[in-house]
């Protein structure tokens, strides 16, 4: 079952308010997405825990109605000020 990219982004931001979310629809079928999620809340968490936080935000949809979500998570890097 397909899910809109905007809905994925909304759910992630609802659970991780400071998240910067970038979503790409890989196949154009509304069922295969890649998401990049940046959040300060990931600081100090293992990759597994970071991904689990995003999966939790999506409330059990990953692996179910959302078959394919390629996921990349990271802590945003401070920008160079000079």
């Amino acid at each position: 079952m397909a899910m809109a990219a905007s809905e994925i982004e909304r759910l992630i931001k609802a659970a991780i308010p400071d998240a910067e979310v970038t979503i790409r629809d890989l196949a154009g079928d509304g069922d295969h997405y890649a998401a990049r999620v940046l959040s300060r809340s990931f600081e100090g968490l293992s990759r597994i825990k970071q991904h689990q936080a995003v999966y939790a935000a999506l409330g059990g949809r990953v692996g179910g109605e959302l078959h394919a979500l390629q996921l990349e998570t990271a802590v945003p890097q401070p920008e160079n000020s000079n």
């Binding site: 990759r47 991904h51 689990q52 990953v62 692996g63 394919a68 996921l71």
Partner: protein, 104 residues
């Protein structure tokens, strides 16, 4: 612990490198499983695979085992490493080589 959880624990404990996947190493049945195999082969790793499509109890059980909703799942020396995205990140950073290299 359910029977499936006990069987999964045995598989994870008795194999240094084990990938729970859809299909077999020769014929992966999903793009993510295929990518995981490609990474392991690229590293020349010795690994076992478990085809979850052949075993519905393992297919459901493995998701509970590590609180991880998707397949494939890689375990090294009894530890959950991650799915194919994490494998790819660790491959690109050299961490996976290190983790698997320590096996030899």
């Amino acid at each position: 612990m359910t029977d499936a959880q006990i069987r999964i624990a045995d598989l994870v404990k008795n194999n240094d490198v084990v990938l729970f996947m859809k299909g077999t190493a020769l014929f992966p049945q999903c793009g993510f499983s295929s990518r995981a195999i490609a990474i392991l082969d690229r590293l020349g790793a010795k690994y076992e695979t478990v085809d979850v499509l052949q075993d519905p109890e393992i297919r459901t059980g493995i998701k509970e085992y590590s609180d991880w909703p998707t397949i494939p799942q890689l375990y090294v020396k009894g530890e959950f490493v991650g799915g194919s995205d994490i494998m790819m990140e660790m491959f690109e950073s050299g961490e996976l080589q290190q983790l698997l290299g320590a096996e030899a």
